[in-house]
Amino acid sequence: MKLVEHFQYGLNSPICLTWELTYACNLACVHCLSSSGRRDPRELTTAEAKAVIDELQRMQVFYVNIGGGEPTVRPDFWELVDYAVTHDVGVKFSTNGIKLDEARAAQLAATDYVDVQISLDGATPEVNDHVRGPGSYATAIRALENLAAAGFGKPKISVVVTRQNVDQLDEFKAIADRFGAQLRITRLRPSGRGADVWDELHPTAEQQRQLYDWLVAHGEDVLTGDSFFHLSAYGEALPGLNLCGAGRVVCLIDPVGDVYACPFAIHENFLAGNVRSPGGFEAVWRTSELFAELRRPQTGGACRSCGFYDSCQGGCMAAKFFTGLPLDGPDPECVRGLGEQALAARGPDTVIPKSDVDHSRSAPRNSRGPVPVTIGMRPDRACDENPLAGLKVPVAGR
């Protein structure tokens, strides 16, 4: 049996684990996978997070990808990073750069086993800030400057490829080279708030081809987090495992300890358990029914008879799910255009699933859990005592 086939049946421990430490974020990126913004009051405490690290060490999970939200806004962030690296759990953390001042950059440069990944979704402020918010380009560049000045070796620049920045790939590479950084390009997913902008921002069919050719030309030089395996059907496979690792070799621990099959699948259908439950993370990874199901051989469904199935494996589960497509059919960005046809064939009765986990600053608080009581006639201002203030009374005749 080939190695990749073994991976399909799952491993004793994940190879690569994403751990989102907080839903709090100073930015409000339009495509945020986790719909982050506000901290969740149920987030893991410092002690609980350390207990998770102890468990990862026991399970020999050699490194974690820490993200959020913006993980560095957690007051205990640096303490947790130190705790992880001294317990044989290497850390790569994703940040928008907000906390990476000169002092932090110097501290990071002196630490082994820590990788830093700065998010940048445009090679120019106009393109980046349109998606990530005003000032976010300058923040990211300042962080990269601080890291370079401190002598931090090879940070990563992580780019979500969109319709607007796909023509900037060479410019991103130039920015990475300028800062001695490694470029990482990943796929825009219709997850979290990404669902709201996916139609507008996901690369066109022509751009997918352009992206694939660019990635092939740059080979192992550019990281992809294995996120474009659906494009392997164009020809040669891109570097990586070329398989959906959800629940098999990867998973996500979210800020409240919920374990999902992958970072792009924050939805109750992909919720395997919680690290706070008896047996902790290990029990979730090894015994959850959802993960057992994901590790069973997949049939390929509607894609079974397609000659490209061996290379693309039907694409990304989350991309299908959050666009309302069947999980055993083509990826919405199927290189043969079958996904586009499937999207066009969605009827008015197609239910497009939406995550019930939303910490956007515009969303109601605690969107999961008890239904919050809504006070419909709250006065406009605290000092306004007229209970009818602000009440929109239907006016006859309009």
Partner: protein, 94 residues
């Protein structure tokens, strides 16, 4: 191919690098090198046995024999072990 470091000599005593951790998996083992942060794989349980047995044997050949590797497989195992020596997973034992 890199020309750095000593040439792999299976007559000499070896060991798994102290910077390396092996994690048993159904296919064999996952190898993590804490120095280079590279992840690699030992693709058969027998190769895992050879690698983890290295430090108990006077040579790489002896470790291969002790793990019961078939004679016909020896060249393939030696090639795999030379690769592991080149990437720092195993090293000569002082």
């Amino acid at each position: 191919m890199s020309t750095d470091g000593p040439v792999f000599n299976p007559e000499l005593p070896h060991r798994c690098s102290p910077q390396v951790a092996l994690r048993p998996e159904p296919f064999g083992a996952l190898v993590y090198h804490f120095g280079t942060r590279r992840l690699s794989f030992l693709k058969t349980p027998q190769l895992v046995e050879v690698v983890s047995g290295l430090e108990r044997h006077p040579s790489v050949h002896a470790a291969i024999e002790a793990a019961g590797v078939e004679e016909a497989q020896r060249p393939a195992y030696l090639r795999a072990l030379a690769g592991l020596a080149a990437n720092g997973t195993i090293e000569e034992r002082p």
